[in-house]
Symmetry: C2
Subunit: 354 residues, 2 copies
Amino acid sequence: MKITIQKTTNPKPIPKDDSKLGFGRIFSDHMFIMEYTAGQGWHDASIKPFQDIPLSPAAMVFHYGQEIFEGLKAYRTADGSVQLFRPEENFKRLNISAKRLVIPEIPVEDCMQALTELVKLDEAWVPHSDGASLYIRPFIFAKDPFVGVRPGNEYYFIIILSPSGPYYETGLNPVSICVEENYVRAVKGGMGFTKTGGNYAASLIGQDEAHNQNFAQVLWLDGIEKKYIEEVGSMNIFFVIGDEIITPELNGSILSGITRKSVIELCQNWGLKLSERRLGIQEVSDAYDRGELKEIFGTGTAAVISPVGLLKWGDKVMEINGNKIGDISAKLYDTLTGIQYGRLADEMGWVKKV
Amino acid sequence: MKITIQKTTNPKPIPKDDSKLGFGRIFSDHMFIMEYTAGQGWHDASIKPFQDIPLSPAAMVFHYGQEIFEGLKAYRTADGSVQLFRPEENFKRLNISAKRLVIPEIPVEDCMQALTELVKLDEAWVPHSDGASLYIRPFIFAKDPFVGVRPGNEYYFIIILSPSGPYYETGLNPVSICVEENYVRAVKGGMGFTKTGGNYAASLIGQDEAHNQNFAQVLWLDGIEKKYIEEVGSMNIFFVIGDEIITPELNGSILSGITRKSVIELCQNWGLKLSERRLGIQEVSDAYDRGELKEIFGTGTAAVISPVGLLKWGDKVMEINGNKIGDISAKLYDTLTGIQYGRLADEMGWVKKV
Ligand SMILES: Cc1ncc(COP(=O)(O)O)c(C=O)c1O
Ligand SMILES: Cc1ncc(COP(=O)(O)O)c(C=O)c1O
């Protein structure tokens, strides 16, 4: 793929204080953009100064939500180099989302080329402090100026970069989450296994009500029986019950997280008993009552491992591991961040130097 | 509400041949736009030349689908005046969608004022031929340049106008539809009762597969048991079984259509037996086998009444009323379009002159 590069003549100052970065608010100097036109395919790949995109108010994305995205990070290692964590997995998943949303696919190699050239150009934007990283957001949306329900004939594929601080500013502390019992985020046959706007739009109201009760996140149940655990707002979820580590199986309504996949592979390597299976909230609650619910943790690119200290289900509030980080959560966090930041050897072949 | 008006200095030619308008492709000279900022509320209402909107690539609408819309029409009457059909209902529904999507509401009076001033200014764009109309698309989306899942702090509310031809160019002919058995559009607890992008995005793949089999639309079943009839892509649906007219009840996963509501009110006025209730696809199929399935029709702003001539469920293809328009469908179509175009007296008080 030929990528035209137009460098900014007006570079922005790179933030000096990583502790003030926050998450997803600041954007680097450049972006990748490529266009799709029916009959012509993907064309005009370019890297340009980060800039506003002019769109007709009739552009389909404003009306029919035909949009997908990905999220991954570039990490600065101790020797100053920059590396990515399993980036091909993100672009494979982008294409899985594309298929469900009737969006034209993009070869993974082309995505990787676009990403690599962009990150190289804006390499100075990758933060240097531990826990900080360059968050990468690839996304595709339909842009035809047409007000009618059908798949778009025109799309943009864009990648933007956002230097971001540690997800939890106070370090790896347990979060409180609550089971959502009224709203549904996704259902089998729907779009839950994809990263598309509608899933997140559907989740806002539950998240909002959880925040009002001082919970950080919602734990979603299946949309059919409202009994089985699915995932957290933007994390997959794991439970340690006795000596079994359990995470909900990929059933079509939850996202196949890359951190989830990595955690499963690590646990298996370590000889731990790991099950991907249907898990009822009742089973979790019963295990708690028996004193066998040892740890709960979320997994996702943003926070890597997020230990859960409190789990609320109806009137019952379960305190997990004395609201402290558990051993397995801690070991997974240290291992994954160790590999991501290059402190540990990359025995799994997960890391890609830029 | 104070609306600033900036007229175009470069008016576009108004299409002369209504038969070439199509649907949702052409836009009038002006648009209404108003902005929301957290802490400040809705502000800067204005009518401007129809123009592109510049947005940051990080604008939330591209990523998290926090967007809602409405669809209604302005009709040209024989005396040359312009009128709307139950427009307040659309803005009430816009606010119902807003609540579910955690979008700030807009008073119905303000919406009506915006709409009325805009349609007055672009009145010449309302087509003159029968069956043609000015399609009106109000919509709201989150626009903050922020890449993280939370409700937006900044929104646009926009109204655009599109002169459109008759929905079916060949006149009121029966359409073929097929029952969707793999994909789910919406589920109880989700967003099915709202007009938000995600519902339509979820439906594209089913619609696409139906088109490939030469069906015009998909008939969606409930997402939980996959047994009960919900609605068609962008229409509600009615069945005449024996002397009962049945439409699925509003259960949280289907849209409360304004045409649906009007059809129910008309049927009740006419003394027909009308039920809003759960209706299984098996019940429909059984009625067909007994020879009691008299008519099926969809209802929606775009096509008003759309008779269904063929209904496919699995391997079974049901031909309804000899693939001809039924009496009730025809009477409803004539009555509704009669009121909309001012040929019939507006006894229900549904029409609003602009
Ligand atoms: C809904 C949802 N589930 C799970 C995840 C975790 O996936 P990953 O580990 O690939 O970041 C994310 C975030 O990416 C998400 O948005
Ligand atoms: C999903 C859906 N159902 C039903 C309808 C019909 O609603 P109305 O009669 O208000 O146009 C529409 C179209 O507006 C729709 O998009």
